[in-house]
Assembly symmetry: D2
Homo-oligomer: 139 residues x 4
């Protein structure tokens, strides 16, 4: 898990660009946080759906890639249930099913008060190649 | 439409942070592009689902707010059908239904070759308040 | 809850047509089962996605209408994770969020072995009118 | 296409149970209708989401299986945009993407007036085995 955590912290450029910090990785599980910054807002002065999605999608990617084989997100559904305005957002991905080709995850995005901000459901397609290539330079 | 276009270009901070440029707005329709940059990538060296979502979500927001009343995204579903690696991505939102409280939009995200990258479907809840407040300063 | 349970058992014609039996209703929660019959199958000899959806959608409807005000399903997403072939399917709806206008539910569909068959996420729009009209005859 | 059409008309038991009639099949496309009957209704006196889904899911299945290899529905999202009360519902599936393993379809469900009732988006996983087995008896 340490290797996967280091890999994503290093190589997920857009998650870093969005200010997301990976907190924890277990097989089939991942947790991250995003401290709300001025660049996260939309025209309605709430956190942009794209920023919330990026946080959820990131823990979905880490959790689904946590076993080694490369997992590609193919479908995601999100219900946005409460506007986020300030503080820090947290996302936690949980595995719901996994076979040799497909796996399903749910992600809850919550705020500092523990209130649900968004509910995410996603499916990945599993490739045979590992997410961390042994041949390529990693830094 | 000019006012809405200027408003979103100015006030959608996360879309700007993601390098998205609004190209066109019509009632119930919007079109934007995102030139792929190093910060858009994920750990698998393809454009991050969060970046693709942000592009789609942005035209969804502009199209659904194009009539004036504030539209809040409540549900989105995305199928990611092809990995994006380089060049520019384009998104176009099209209105599918609209009543006084709810409206539905589809968004196609395509690459330079016109190939489909992602298929997005989203619903908004319509508030009575306008998206552009007449009382508040706009800049 | 007794009144809601009796109402749905009596008035949900398509659930009855699909052989679905309501087992339990609590505020924001409902549970039902569907014994697999020859008419539930699709061309691939597995239980039809429409039958699985109907079971999930039914507990979603009962749970979201359990407080009284009429709830209309506006968005649903389903991941089908395992084919169902025989025995009985169970569905349980759980409330994830609820405000005055919108509420969100998740539903797990499982088989006799407790294996996950489908994962469902749905949102309702809440009307002011009650689901059980006091003026109309109920039987 | 004639063989696929005959196969689904014969072997899709739940579609038949729901009163659905297959109208047309082309590679990657299918069209069907469902005349609204008393057994299609829910407790709110509108056509049940499960019945509308079954109609949409059926044309999704026929269109995605129209080339021969067996296609299994893995993800579906539906926006319900208008209540259906009487007359006939029509569904038409259109292919949006297809590679060797995954394919994506959209389905519009409309009523007699041509009004949109539901918007459906679905993904299938493609198996190597054909949907119509040459070894097994077909009727």
């Amino acid at each position: 898990m340490h290797e996967i955590k280091a890999f994503f912290a290093e190589h997920d450029h857009f998650a870093r660009h969005a200010g997301i910090e990976l907190l924890e990785v277990e097989p089939g599980m991942a947790r991250a946080r995003m401290q709300i910054k001025p660049y996260h807002f939309n025209g309605a002065n709430t956190v942009h759906g794209g920023a919330i999605f990026t946080l959820a999608d990131f823990v979905f990617a880490v959790a689904s890639n946590s076993y080694g084989p490369m997992a590609m997100g193919i479908n995601t559904s999100v219900s946005f249930v409460k506007a986020a305005i300030s503080g820090t957002l947290y996302a936690e991905a949980e595995e719901q099913s996994r076979n040799t080709k497909l796996a399903t995850y749910t992600v809850n995005v919550t705020d500092d008060s523990g209130d649900l901000i968004a509910l995410f459901q996603g499916m990945v397609y599993l490739k045979k190649a590992p997410i961390i290539s042994k041949d390529a330079p990693q830094g």
